[in-house]
Amino acid sequence: MALANVLQSESVDFSNYGRKCRGFTSSLYETELGLESVGGDNLSFAVRTACSDGDGSERKIQFLHGTTTLAFKFQHGVIVAVDSRATAGAYIASQTVKKVIEINPYLLGTMAGGAADCSFWERLLARQCRVYELRNKERISVAAASKLLANMVYQYKGMGLSMGTMVCGWDKTGPGLYYVDSEGNRVCGDLFAVGSGSMYAYGIVDSGLKQKDLTVEEACDLGCRAIYQATYRDAYSGGQVNLYHVHSEGWNRVSQSDVLLLHQQYQAEKA
């Protein structure tokens, strides 16, 4: 976990930093087993190097960029709302995808981009968080958890990972919300929306968050409505709205509402 471990050297030698942490242009057999540096266990996951793969970023795997995920902080914690549609081009592959990953009872991660990338790295993050908890006898902070994730994926920067996730939780400094992606961004914030429907979601949440203190019900409703509006206009978002609320005791799943039913409900309200 320490910088020295990541650099895989006993003494910090900054001359090696650039060479070890980024992509490789040299030998085909050199694999950056970034995972080895994770806790010093003997994990080896064979990683295809950029060379053997040929065309790094132009893969034919369809990613979940078509999505809407949303998280915002408020007085009583963090609301996480996501849709559940997966598309492969114009084909709707699934309407029941779980885009919120439960890292541990007090940390959540959202999924946007490559589903495999998101779920794999967040499960690995869950393992690291648990080890941290055991070693240090206290829960990991949201800042540290998001940092661990960001550092893990940064080692694979340029190698074709696609992941845009929000790490949400509650630690001793209060509610925590970080956006982490495979480009190496890690940003702390009060509100994030990720995916093709994010712009529509932002519109709703930005206007709804005018009041300073929302109650839990109001915040949940806002999150639900924002995702619904995004699914209404964005073809690549739809299915159900999965809503989670993170508070000081941990997270709990508030609701799972089908978008079509929500549509009827909101239409009825307008009339």
Binding site: M1, A2, L3, A4, N5, S11, V12, R135, N136, I140, S141, A143, A144, K147, L148, N151
Partner: protein
Amino acid sequence: MSLYDRAITVFSPDGHLFQVEYAQEAVKKGSTAVGIRGKDIVVLGVEKKSVAKLQEERTVRKICTLDDHVCMAFAGLTADARIVINRARVECQSHRLTVEDPVTVEYITRHIATLKQRYTQSNGRRPFGISALIVGFDCDGTPRLYQTDPSGTYHAWKANAIGRSAKTVREFLEKNYTDEAIATDNESIKLAIKALLEVVQSGGKNIELAVIRRNQPLKLLESKEIETLVTEIEKEKEDEAEKKKQKKST
């Protein structure tokens, strides 16, 4: 016995790692260091070895900061200590980088202890010949004092001493470490000086003292301050002796 003490990675038939024990002997030859955990202050005191005439005094420092809120004193091989301190300093910053929080005293002690243990279990290396006293405050304001030894074990202490005559000092501390003795910052500092005076020759000149107060960086006491405190202590001792005499005579 001589068959089993050459290589570090060999146990003796009765379960000793002789190289580690010899390293502990090396520690016992080093100059004394004492650590005291008060209520709002932690104190480190070391016996200053007399400096050669032409030697610059400033370069001989046995108390070092690891971070703003943690510092350590050691007893044993100075060169080994330098390496350990270096690694600990890097780890303190790495921790700040990856976890966005300063280290807890326990964490950095554990790191140093793990480092020392690694050197008792690899071939081609000998153990570090130092014991360390690591003091500081955690984020939540609790003062801490930990001691590590060459075998890689660590324990938390209320007060401890390492190095030459550590046993005598520890016995003194066991007798004199009371809640009253650490009631105020000044009292805790005086307790540290008293403990060191037990074993140090020629008094205040050969004592180096450092304190950390909550949310403040390490402060090395100047020799003048130490002298003042030493005279205070000696005066108290005299007063005590006077009282006892009077009691006896009445």
